[in-house]
């Protein structure tokens, strides 16, 4: 089934939001991604899985605009995307979290989440310098949105706590909050449950489902925990050695012999 995009369960997912067409990404002689195509539909939770070094994070970096592929096209909301800087991609409505947490450790949780609103801030340098009036009004409006996210992710008790003092699981949640603050159309999660205990994982699963449900955010995630992936996602792309070896609903992927080989470790030549 390699190459063919599986028919999605379209009961609740909408039209195609993002389409990756024949993406190839090379670092010098190393081919990180070889000719991969898949799409992400509006409102779905799309997982990218695969063994270590399969090229999952590279794929996410292509989507977020951090890497520009040598070949292939990225289509977003029906338009072909020219090579862009990450901040331009962010403005288009794509937000992400990182595999190894990338928060401002010395700043409070609230301030960290406020930085997620940066791309949405309108007032100019002068207004910000004067502060009273327009900038203040704008900040109140942004703060209101941020407070809703704080409430949503149940992190009220650490609102004023510096991020550096938080345990790992909460930092991950703060990262998710910051990504959500940008009100993304598409949310990219790079191993959101890595290093978490069972309880934290369960919480995170619930938050991801709730985000998808409540805000209608489309989510693309990379995750190692197969249980989590199969429970959460609507459709799964499976990568191995930079190639796509499977694509479909969790059940289809689970039954795919190539995927089983990749995970159970059949001798590669």
């Amino acid at each position: 089934m390699t190459g063919a995009t599986a028919t999605a369960d379209t009961r609740r997912t909408g039209p195609v939001l993002m389409e990756m067409k024949n993406i190839t990404l090379r670092f010098g002689g190393v081919k990180a991604i070889t000719d991969i195509s898949f799409d992400i539909r509006e409102g779905e939770i799309r997982a990218i899985i695969g063994p270590n070094g399969a090229g999952k994070s590279s794929m996410l970096n292509v989507i977020s605009g951090f890497y520009v592929p040598q070949q292939g096209e990225v289509w977003f909301r029906g338009q072909k995307r020219p090579p862009m800087k990450p901040y331009q991609v962010a403005r288009q409505g794509i937000a992400r979290t990182f595999q190894n947490i990338a928060l401002f450790e010395g700043m409070s949780v609230l301030d960290n989440i406020m930085t997620g609103r940066l791309t949405l801030m309108q007032t100019g340098f002068l207004d910000q310098a004067i502060w009273w009036g327009r900038a203040q009004r704008e900040e109140s409006a942004h703060r209101e949105r941020v407070e809703r996210i704080i409430d949503f992710l149940e992190i009220q008790h650490i609102r004023k706590t510096p991020v550096g003092r938080l345990p790992y699981g909460l930092k991950k949640r703060v990262e998710l909050a910051r990504a959500l603050a940008a009100e993304p159309k598409l949310l990219l999660l790079d191993e959101p449950m890595a290093g978490m205990n069972v309880e934290e994982k369960e919480d995170m699963c619930r938050f991801i489902l709730d985000v998808n449900d409540e805000f209608g955010t489309t989510i693309a995630l990379i995750e190692h925990d197969m249980g989590v992936v199969m429970d959460l996602s609507d459709r799964v792309v499976v990568m191995d050695y930079g190639k796509k070896i499977g694509d479909g609903t969790p059940d289809e992927v689970r039954a795919n012999p190539d995927v089983i080989d990749a995970y159970l470790g059949v001798a590669h030549d």
Binding site: D151, F152, Q156, D210, D213
Partner: protein
């Protein structure tokens, strides 16, 4: 005081009080809740408007007179309103403990026969759905927080906001019906039904009438001169009678403002922001706060620590006297005023107690040190003694007559007598109507003349007339040689040490007493850190030899103190062990209000008790534990049993002489 002088006959229900407050205090804040980082508030007029709309929404859902409405969730204005809205419809609100597992909830929901259930959030809805396949009388589920609820089957489920909107839209249809139902309410109607956690057996539904609640609220408001200017923080379980009296009965009677915290985790911050004037907390909360203060002071700089120690010594000496208005030397007064500026004031502010006029604690005995600490700071902390069946108040301490070892004088309107067995009986306007669908228990608890057995043994102190409680009457027993055995008396003395979270003493019918001890992870963990003791888990810390040494010192001190009292000197602890797990309500070992369930512990840990009495040094055991989500697991441990020195009791000494 803008109090209505008498209790006119028309103020005989909570909805009637609400209407009065909406007239008299229209513009004053009635409810506040911190949400989205800001205190959102509702005036009495707005609250009435919301509650009426909600009640009409309930009518639209088909709520009938006499129906029971179960309410499950953390303290939120919307849930308090739903209780009043249910009353307006002639129905009976039944608040349930939100941390109960589905199984416990099933028992109660089944027993009360609720047709409508109001849930705080998805977690509670899930539990209700889980029990619904066994309990078929639940017709409608209403929830407050919409998060995660989108995909649920909504054929018999509604968001509370939608119910309110529907009620508002349908006011032409329902307003007249609602007014009729409100006007029908009288003294005899049930105001609320509360399930007692019950230290034994299944929970019982205590039916409290409007007469019970409103007369009690009125008497207690007058006792402490509570006015509409009070601020309270509603953070204790809504299913507990105390919260119903404080946040509903007294708030409605006096017209004061009820503040709901943002989440359970932010309670301390919210407490500080609100600065309540009237505050209730179980001893545990005061203990935790004191422990935190002490831990933080240990980390403070030398000057600050010195200032703190010095001024606290002064405060302990003269603070309570100043609070009680007794004569104090001018020099001490001046020094205390300086201390207030430098230490007490800032400390009280940090704790959120700057504005406290009246503070109560009850439920368990409070350690004299803890009690004195708060009183020394100038916080008017008092004790009361009560129970669900009495609508809380049985005795309370009047201002100026406060001590840690008594529970005060009978509350206004309460009659007390002590039976020959030592058990305390009371009769009051707040005495409950009955146990719901349980005439046998009603009859065995309340006699024909209205006297209710508290189940506690106690006596009136000579001279002051204050009541002192020794123990649960049924727990008081005799040792093998006939000496009095009062476990709680000893346990309380042990629990006054910060390192001890819980203690259970055994010895009824035995030759000597033994004890289980639960260490307090915060206090002992901090102590371990300070002393360079490494530990990986609660279990490991609990079994550490140096922790054993520390606890042994405490036990021996308690033994010396117990030996002072000739009546109870037999209760000295000869052997003890430190439990490998915390006693937990999910395992049924303590009640939701954290009272020890002696019988259950005796059965569950029978092997450990046997080992304490047969002289072994260690014992291996396996214990079943229940996780918060209801799953079960087991922990295995080998526990050390330790001996403690006892002091010869006075009669023995006389024999030896």
């Amino acid at each position: 005081m803008a109090h209505p002088a008498a209790a006119p006959a028309e103020l005989c229900s909570i909805p009637a009080l609400l209407a009065r407050n909406a007239r008299q205090f229209a513009g004053r804040d009635a409810y506040r809740e911190k949400e989205f980082g800001i205190w959102q508030s509702w005036t009495w007029a707005q609250a009435q408007d919301e509650i009426r709309a909600m009640a009409m929404g309930f009518l639209a859902l088909g709520l009938a007179r006499g129906d029971h409405v179960a309410i499950i969730g953390r303290n939120r204005p919307a849930l308090y309103w739903s209780m009043v809205a249910a009353q307006m419809c002639g129905a009976v609100p039944v608040p349930l403990y939100q941390d109960a597992v589905a199984e416990e909830m099933a028992q109660v929901l089944d027993h009360c026969g609720a047709r409508l259930v109001v849930c705080g959030d998805q977690e509670q809805v899930d539990k209700v759905i889980e029990v619904q396949d066994r309990i078929h009388h639940i017709e409608q589920v209403v929830y407050v927080d919409k998060r995660g609820m989108r995909k649920y089957d909504h054929s018999r489920m509604n968001a509370l906001a939608d119910v309110v909107a529907e009620g508002r839209a349908a006011h032409h249809r329902f307003a007249a019906e609602l007014d009729t139902r409100i006007s029908e309410l009288g003294w005899g109607h049930t105001c609320v039904m509360l399930y007692t956690s019950g230290t034994t057996g299944k929970p019982k539904g205590v039916v409290l009438s409007n007469r019970n609640i409103i007369l009690t609220a009125r008497a207690s408001c007058e006792f402490d001169r509570l006015t509409e200017a009070e601020e309270v923080l509603a953070y204790l379980p809504m299913a507990w009678v105390g919260d119903f009296i404080f946040s509903m009965g007294q708030a409605m009677w006096a017209g004061f403002c009820v503040n709901c915290p943002e989440s359970p985790a932010t309670m301390m911050t919210d407490l500080r922001e609100i600065g309540p004037t009237y505050f209730f907390a179980p001893p545990r909360v005061f203990e935790q706060q004191l422990t935190q203060v002490m831990i933080r002071m240990e980390d403070a700089g030398r000057t600050k620590k010195w200032l703190f120690d010095r001024f606290m010594a002064l405060a302990r000496r003269v603070g309570p006297a100043i609070l009680d208005g007794r004569p104090v030397a001018t020099a001490d007064r001046l020094a205390y005023a300086l201390g207030n500026l430098l230490i007490y004031g800032p400390l009280k502010n940090t704790l959120g107690f700057s504005r406290i006029r009246v503070g109560y604690t009850a439920g368990e005995a409070i350690g004299p040190e803890i009690f004195d600490f708060y009183r020394a700071l100038g916080i008017n902390l008092k004790q009361l003694y009560g129970q669900t069946e009495a609508s809380v108040f049985i005795t309370q301490q009047p201002d100026g007559q406060v001590r840690s070892d008594t529970v005060g004088v009978p509350s206004p309107g309460v009659e007390l007598r002590i039976a020959e067995t030592g058990e305390v009986f009371y009769r009051s306007p707040g005495t409950f109507v009955e146990y719901f669908r349980n005439p046998e228990s009603t009859a065995s608890t309340k006699d024909a003349e209205g006297w209710v057995a508290t189940g506690d043994a106690g006596f009136f102190e000579e001279g002051t007339g204050h009541l002192r409680i020794i123990d649960r009457a049924k727990d008081v027993g005799r040792m093998a040689d006939g000496r009095l055995f009062a476990p709680k008396y000893v346990e309380n003395k042990l629990k006054f040490y910060p390192a001890v979270l819980e203690a259970v003493v055994f010895g009824n019918g035995r030759a000597f007493c033994t004890a289980f001890v639960n260490i307090d992870l915060t206090a002992v963990g901090n102590w371990a850190e300070r002393n360079g003791i490494a530990y990986a888990s609660y279990q490991e810390l609990a079994g550490h030899p140096r922790v054993y040494d520390m606890i042994r010192t405490h036990v021996e001190e308690v033994n010396r103190s117990v030996a002072q009292d000739p009546m109870l000197s037999g209760c000295q602890i000869r052997r003890f062990l430190i439990l490998h797990k915390e006693l937990d309500a999910d395992d049924g070992e303590v009640t939701r209000t954290r009272k020890v369930r002696r019988r259950i512990i005796e059965e569950k840990y029978a092997d450990l008790i046997a080992a304490l009495y047969d002289g072994r040094d260690s014992v291996s055991t396996e214990t079943e534990v229940t996780y918060e989500d209801g799953r079960k697991g087991a922990i295995r441990a080998t526990l050390r049993l330790a001996d403690a020195a006892t002091v010869a009791s006075p009669p023995d000494r006389r024999a030896a002489a």
